[in-house]
Assembly symmetry: C2
Homo-oligomer: 209 residues x 2
DNA sequence: TGCATTTTGTTGCAACTGCAACATATCTAC
DNA sequence: GTAGATATGTTGCAGTTGCAACAAAATGCA
């Protein structure tokens, strides 16, 4: 997976910060960044720290949707959780550098190399994000839980090139990703097991179709 | 809405084509581009012509999902319709220029101005696409037809800044966008009308909430 | 204008799913 | 290891939805 500063030296990285008139912000453990992100339309890149995207359910339980570390992108466009039930929670003191993409501007002859590299990296990253979103839409437009699961499995199979899938998150998080009720999904998984389509051992799922 | 060649002269546009080693392809009326797009990982921009994204339903009917004209972006990432039931149909002879984003490279001093403008335009467009996808995911994760409709209406309301919404597509297409059965959606719309939440006149919907 | 096609509205019914409640299993921290 | 917390599995039930079939309205086109 491409990272924003791949193939860019530490020195040139800070030159980029200057050239883009970036703002570097620090956030403390426990802060919720969701409202702050709403107000910023710029692209944030995490320089250091650790942030979780959390969904708070009505019954008081909460669910980790995503975890972000150094070099991960954090902007309202890339996470987009308008719902008040979502939280962007700082788990460790975190520094984020914000780029205003409107500010792409003239660069001198010397900066060209790493500037182009940076732009290329960002393109590839955003392109990947588009891909992820598309995959999820592809899944969410399936009308039954069974079909969403099978679509998810198919995509995972294609990606891994194997019939053995390792779930990158919990079954709770999977239900959330598929946009279905957890217990109903659990029931459907049981049916799929019974019918011999899959075998489940922990987070390891073997597809037999 | 930003277009790829905004603020770039016709002359510089063709210089960009050269600098990126683009390929320009022509397609004839009636061709289905979906398979061709699968094989290309590059960014296509329509130079001239008219293309429809079509969904073919099981019962033989088909539905126009989207229509693309000059300066619209056409790549597998931006449409993403893996399903064989989707078709990318050329309605008029269409020319597409394909950019390989991997080929972003050194530009001479003279090209910088329009090169930067082009990159900025593309960023803004892809960012918009991310937004669109996020909105749709936001809607698709709602668990009832009613809630998907209300979410859709809310977003439309925010965008237009008015309680009067004009549907940009047919109700059939809306059902497809929301990922629900058309007749079930029609039923739910009737309930919403009865309960006084909305008024419908053709594609014009008045929100009273 | 008038005919054919497409879209929209309506409804019964069977199937699916969310929800709640609970049991069991797994994980985590001490 | 143990206790508490968290995650997973199971099930009944009521509400929602997809599907099919059809009527009515709107649209396109010769």
């Amino acid at each position: 997976m491409v990272k924003p500063f791949d193939k860019i030296s530490e020195k040139n990285k800070y030159k980029l910060f200057q050239a883009f008139h970036t703002h570097i912000m620090s956030y403390n453990k426990g802060e919720d960044l969701s409202k702050m992100l709403m107000d910023r339309n710029s692209l944030g890149i995490i320089i250091s720290g650790y942030v979780q995207i959390i969904k708070k359910n009505l019954n008081g339980t909460s669910l980790i949707i995503d975890e972000l570390y150094e070099d991960d992108i954090l902007s309202i466009k890339t996470i987009y959780v308008q719902d008040s039930e979502y939280e962007v929670l700082v788990k460790e003191e975190t520094k984020i550098v914000f780029f205003d993409l409107e500010q792409i501007q003239e660069f001198g002859e010397n900066e060209k190399g790493y500037y182009n590299q940076f732009i290329k990296n960002l393109f590839l990253i955003i392109n990947d994000k588009l891909n992820e979103k598309n995959e999820r839409i592809q899944i969410l437009t399936k009308k039954t839980i069974r079909n969403r699961l099978l679509e998810y499995f198919s995509i995972a199979k294609t990606k891994s090139g194997s019939n053995n899938i390792y779930l990158p998150f919990s079954f709770m998080a999977l239900a959330d990703y598929l946009g279905v009720d957890r217990s109903a999904m659990s029931r459907e998984l049981s049916y799929l097991k019974e019918e011999g389509f899959i075998e489940i051992k922990g987070k390891r799922i073997k597809l037999t179709f």
